[in-house]
Symmetry: C2
Subunit: 124 residues, 2 copies
């Protein structure tokens, strides 16, 4: 059974919350482009796994609240509050808007828009 674009994105959010990198990569195409717009562009499973193992591995709780999600054709966008409890107990909350392009039943492009200082000031 193939998943709709919106279902693929929902599965991606859940995989982040579960810190399950295999489940996350399962919905991304092999050459997926994952861009944290003010930070970095990662391309392909190896780069994405490497970054996420570091980042999600440093969090003990991940909760991404989806405020809105809209889908049309092969594009999905959502508005979220991404919350993390880091290993040392620090809580981080980032307001995010995400864009996802779906191709051949996988997420091929993922761009998250947020204010970098909102993130770094809480991580400091």
């Amino acid at each position: 059974m193939s998943q709709s674009p919106g279902e693929l994105v929902t599965a991606l959010i859940k995989a982040n919350e579960d810190r399950d990198i295999d489940a996350l990569l399962a919905v991304l195409s092999e050459d997926a482009r994952y861009e944290n717009v003010p930070m970095s562009v990662l391309t392909g499973h190896d780069e994405i796994r490497s970054m996420l193992e570091g980042f999600l591995g440093s969090a003990k709780e991940v909760t991404w609240e989806v405020l809105h999600q809209v889908e049309q054709g092969n594009v999905v966008m959502n508005e979220r509050v991404d919350r993390f409890v880091m290993a040392d107990g620090k809580k981080v909350s980032i307001r995010v808007a995400g864009l996802f392009e779906i191709s051949d039943g996988k997420i091929a492009v993922w761009r998250d828009y947020f204010d970098l200082a909102e993130f770094t000031s809480q991580m400091a």
Copy 2:
């Protein structure tokens, strides 16, 4: 003839490009909430007009390139590159994701997500 949610947002984008604040307010509800997420929240026509007269008034060219726009129910989201040529000739380009909630045929909520430093570093 009432406009669809997507048409209202397209009219809002065009009003920004035209620096036509009356046309812009015409598609926003009286008590609209306009949030530049890392910067400020403005509520209602007076606050929005006051900010935009200052900001759009300081630009001599405004071009907002819409990369994607998706709409579902009363919510529209888009991914844009907002370009400005300021009065002194300085060029500013900001990568933005926008969220719009439509109520009673007007835009009632407008939230733009972007990296504040990307904006301020170019304005400096």
